[in-house]
Symmetry: C2
Subunit: 385 residues, 2 copies
């Protein structure tokens, strides 16, 4: 059972979403009496969740006192663990970034080493932001592999040796921890940051591998086993010769991922090892690299065309390392999607590059944590305590 409508948690949600900034607004929106709203707001202020600011503009009578989240006593961390990097964003309740950092870090070194590093950086960030460790209320984390979201344990992740079934949340004491696949948190970050009004969105990450985060009805769709969005191993036609590390052939990732494009360039006598090299070549004007990236776009577009027919999203966001040359990638993708998908599904469909960029994962992970903390049920618990 959820809480009653108009509970402190609901009131905070309205303030947090910016739907209401004054007691009067709240009364109008919720339909509750002004006196009741005042009582709710008092409780929220008492709990340190909301604060009053200077009076606002008068509309002919007494000017209303503005309300906003009291962000000073709280902190949240969004942690983006990649195969070879670690990014952390320390955020406040309004999803504003207080401090951030980025390091090279091999996830293959295992959970103890990696999480110890995270811990040190987290302390540094808290100090830079001038907040005590106790201010840290919740932590979100994105990792490059499948996760059982309910328990925060990686589920046979192929590129995270030593992490299988490791109980990540237990490492952080005294605060709620949410671990999810990196593409899911990127999708969440992009959605909340750039397309908050959109109901159905796909975030496609094109790097060494290819993955997809799914936002349906405004919330992440993780699927039955938490493996939804694993589109890198969908078969594309006409590439039966391309073997994939998963054991099958003709996987999207094996023909259009950053590593695959690099390999094909190398075969053409243009040395490239990774997606980053490919990006550098394209930016340097190499026509072969440009051609292959566009061709990769077409192959990705073929898969996305299927998904557009199936899922009918409003927006598809293209992110990941290769999206830094998104003009060429997007050209190939759009060309194929608009040719192969049904008109009804593509009529209002936007296919766009990520606006949130390199920080989408860390931000999304932080937002995952913040949204849990600000959920009406959790707020009601805090206020009643």
């Amino acid at each position: 059972m959820t809480s009653a409508p108009g509970s402190p948690g609901d009131v905070l949600t309205l303030i947090s979403a910016g739907s209401a900034t004054t007691r009067s607004d709240l009364a109008k929106i919720t339909g509750l009496a002004r006196s009741t709203i005042s009582q709710r707001v008092d409780a929220l202020i008492e709990s340190g969740l909301v604060e009053e600011t200077e009076s606002g503009e008068s509309t002919g009578g007494r000017p209303p006192r503005q309300l906003r989240l009291h962000t000073e006593d709280h902190a949240f961390a969004g942690i983006d663990l990649g195969a070879t990097h670690c990014r952390i964003a320390l955020m406040d309740m309004s999803s504003d970034v207080l401090a951030e950092c980025e390091d090279p870090l091999l996830i293959a070194e295992g959970p103890e080493t990696v999480l110890a590093h995270v811990d040190r950086r987290l302390d540094e960030l808290l100090e830079r932001a001038g907040r005590p460790r106790a201010a840290l209320r919740a932590v979100g984390m994105g990792v490059p592999g499948p996760v059982e979201f309910a328990t925060g344990r990686p589920n046979n992740p192929p590129i995270m040796p030593g992490w299988n079934d490791y109980p990540i949340p237990e490492h952080f004491e005294g605060c709620a921890v949410f671990v999810d696949n990196d593409v899911n948190v990127m999708a969440l970050g992009e959605h909340r940051n750039a397309y908050p009004g959109t109901r159905h969105l796909l975030f496609v990450k094109i790097g060494t591998g290819i993955g997809c985060g799914i936002v349906a009805e405004g919330t992440l769709h993780r699927g039955a086993q938490g493996s939804a969005g694993d589109i890198g191993h969908i078969r594309v036609s006409g590439h039966e010769d391309a073997g994939c590390r998963c054991g099958n052939s003709a996987c999207l990732e094996a023909v259009a991922g950053g590593a695959a494009v690099a390999r094909r360039l190398t075969e053409l006598g243009i040395p490239a090892e990774s997606g980053a090299d490919v990006v550098a070549l394209v930016q340097g004007g190499n026509t072969q690299a440009l051609r292959l990236v566009r061709e990769a776009g077409r192959l990705i577009g073929e898969v996305l065309a299927s998904l557009v027919n199936f899922f009918n999203p409003e927006v598809i966001v293209i992110g990941g390392a290769l999206s830094r040359v998104h003009e060429h990638l997007l050209a190939g993708i759009k060309e194929t999607v608009y040719r192969r998908s049904l008109p009804l599904a593509t009529h209002h469909l936007s296919i766009v590059p990520s606006r949130t960029g390199i920080n989408a994962a860390a931000l999304g992970a932080g937002i995952l944590a913040i949204e849990h903390y600000l959920s009406p049920d959790n707020i009601n618990r805090i206020v009643n305590a």
Copy 2:
């Protein structure tokens, strides 16, 4: 804002779902005081929504009075309009079928003719069930084409001439009307009837065309334009020569739909016009037909393998005309899905024939109507009136 927890609507939901059959159960589940529950139940009985039955079994003390939906004064209709048929199920609040009928009916005759026919049949069914027209509270309808669900208007349906943008709900006065794509209501019917505990389910209808209804988090996913699940025009590899009525080539429907299989049989010198002919041939033991159906299964399986990776459902249900020979179809589908999808996604995946059968659409349409009528908000409105 939704209603408070433990409202009459919530109480009815628990009774309706079978989660609670006595006042004591309700008190335990909701956490409300027994006296409060009694008051709620009284209000529901007063409104004619709930009734008491004979006392139940004693567990050592006073036996509880059993509660159940008072189904006698209400009726709901589920209408399944196909290209060439019309099935109607008259149902009560418990989703039990009171009366049903089935006629050949060409949807191409246009909305006035078709809806007039529906009206006549509806009156007959109501009379057979001994309920007045006023007992009809809500109507659900599935139609063979895309629909804007919010308004109940068909959206450029290819095989429903004259229906484009026709305001179907206006035809039924005095009761709520919900119009949806036929595959969506079939998915709903199958889910509620056979897999109520499942969170993510796909219902694949294989008839002349191929479509898919999507149940995500227990509710229908319709997509941004209501065109989600239109998988019939997803491209399959290796069939570039197969032209499709949509203008593209190599569409799944153009190579694995009932009409396509029939055409290929005809080319082999075995005359067949429709999916029904194909079914008859297979049931008659024709090995060519059997081979082609299995091959069609493999092609469908190729597409489903992609969707399993993307959506990660718990159950895929195969329905539609061709599923009457489901052993052969399923063999082809499973073979491909289990080969091409990721182990994590297929580990707990079931691929099964429809258990609800020919009536899935009419039942699902009725359930669509009933669930709206029994939604807590609607019940609270009724009780407070």
